[in-house]
Assembly symmetry: C2
Homo-oligomer: 411 residues x 2
Amino acid sequence: MSTLSSDGGRRRPTDQGDVRRHNAALVLATVVSDGPISRARMAAATGLTRATVGSIVDELLDAGLLREHGTSSATGLGRPGTDLALAPDGAAGVGVEVNVDGLTAVVVDLEGTVRHRAARPGDQRDRGAAAVLRSAARLVDAALEAAADLDLPVEGVGVAVPGLVDLGEQVLRRAPNLGWTDVPVLERLAAYAETPWPAAALDNEANLAALGELWAGGHDPAGSFVLVNGDVGVGAGVVLDGRLHRGTRGFGGELGHLTVAPDGPPCRCGARGCLEQVAGLDWILAEAGLPPASGSTDDALAPLLAAVRADERRAVAAVAGAARSLGVGVAALVNLFDVDTVVLGGVFADLFPWLDEPLREVVSTRVLSAPWAPVSVQPAALGRDAAAIGAALSPLRALTSDPLAPEVAVG
Amino acid sequence: MSTLSSDGGRRRPTDQGDVRRHNAALVLATVVSDGPISRARMAAATGLTRATVGSIVDELLDAGLLREHGTSSATGLGRPGTDLALAPDGAAGVGVEVNVDGLTAVVVDLEGTVRHRAARPGDQRDRGAAAVLRSAARLVDAALEAAADLDLPVEGVGVAVPGLVDLGEQVLRRAPNLGWTDVPVLERLAAYAETPWPAAALDNEANLAALGELWAGGHDPAGSFVLVNGDVGVGAGVVLDGRLHRGTRGFGGELGHLTVAPDGPPCRCGARGCLEQVAGLDWILAEAGLPPASGSTDDALAPLLAAVRADERRAVAAVAGAARSLGVGVAALVNLFDVDTVVLGGVFADLFPWLDEPLREVVSTRVLSAPWAPVSVQPAALGRDAAAIGAALSPLRALTSDPLAPEVAVG
């Protein structure tokens, strides 16, 4: 039997360099959560000696990640000093989202502020991977240039795609709505880049949107929620105890392919009655009697929003129908993961006022624990750029969780 | 923004007593994974000094958790000693499962061997909570007596129930198939007990079955799988990276109430078309034209197994129909959690040869990542006592992960 083996951790004492890097992350995290903060209060908050705090702070000031800020708020003995604050210009991340309805690139600084944004709206489904990725590379090139103009050192590039990402190989295995299979996205982007990029990483768009929502959406950093991102496709990013749950192979959160109508319409994935076939934007537009999305999501959404605002019966019924299917999906998430918060992003955030009530009704009927454990369903904080922003925040997150890591060259 | 705060752990250095307890757990875990093992090899495997190993081993020998075993397998200098092995009689756990089709209690020793088993088969649905829990208390009293006769010190009692358990309050919130709501199971059991029990804990049966499967089923102790337990109800226990995922409020894994047929038959939970209504034992028996389960599951299952073994068309079709609905549920688990292994327990384990093919077909169509990430569906190792065994293993697990913890009196 193996009754005992998973708890007996075997971590060896870490070496001095590791301790220093860990302490630097702790100091930086404390500035983020409690700052601006004096060195003395920092020592008290972290349990580190003043000498250790002082020398780590010097390194972080040198690295441009911290800055001196006004006069210390500390009270007590000793001469007043200055407080420490995050240096927003100390580092930036570039994020690009490649999606069915267009491409978006952003530059985000250390405080989470979007400093540059450029988009190429329009349907990408018939352009082919080469053309789409060439456009995406152009957007990233331009974002890197913008960051250089703003004097922002770029830590890395995050790339969001709407499909199954093999994280180890950094290959997009399957994006049914783009019709792509086994596309080595990063390799292609690197080939199309005009100048060499800093380290780049590929991930699923719902995962990155969930990370964006976690880091910049004002959530409990150790909390649990599921972000459900709606567009032509529907995806979910699952955050459990402040960490993204990607699954064993990184393929988790495929809510769009949950079966909600076993004999329903065929899906691009090969199955029938998948959630995105009866709750995605294409279905809603068709049910509402509106033209299908062919350009940007904003263009497709505008007449739908106008119709529901004017209380047009067919449009309201279409959104309510999508809400009921979505409710089956949300109930599945809550019954299985037992999260207490579901965040609706993408077009679902725009349509939230009309989705809310019918969705809530289904959830309250279909979630077994609903009478004892209420579920909060809320619109996303970040809007439709959530995945691009999450992609840009990823390298910043890596930097701030290990600010003194030796720099590693990445191809 | 809160970009950084979740990673900067603030754990203070532990005190000497904590270090000693941690090291004791490490030594015990090493005996389990590598034992029988000499003190010298133990020191090498754990990185502890020989003196530390020696003194911890003495304490664990005194506590009856380890025993000396034969002659040391160590090679090298110095005089040969004896190896250390687990002492199977050093401690035991008592587990009791309260379920729709009957009650089962077991005594399990430190090696995971069932040393005593007693059951009270029969439908519990119309007996009422008081009568059922009185019977359960009798079974636990008898199990404690049996353990005393076997000279096994009982660490604690685990109680498995088929419903939503409020872990904090230790109250069964809702068990739709028993028709129970807000039953303080532990309090009642304690009131009915003939003699005082050691510490007792309540948990969901699918969760405990999953823990039993994890600890005694030969799985990778750090692996991920979902155990789907089938009976009249259907529940799931989700193990991610070797840990049970109970959800934010402990209400996760309610696979039985996943919607697989939105307009399907009404469920006892108040919703329609829940998985257990179209894949549970009652549905299979009705579809097969067999009498409903009224006594034990074994009695109800016998004619069904006879029929499928005889290749009777109606019975085979009923099981295949359940398998297709179950496939929708399994596909949901894999699409959302991205586990690579699904373990079928309860009656699904007995019916596995007839479920396997139709289920596999649905899973391969409905799991988006199936072509890149194969899913293994397999019958459970433990059989129908999995939940009772998991319940009995729980206190042993707690003991072995902290063998030198000061004893705490529990009411």
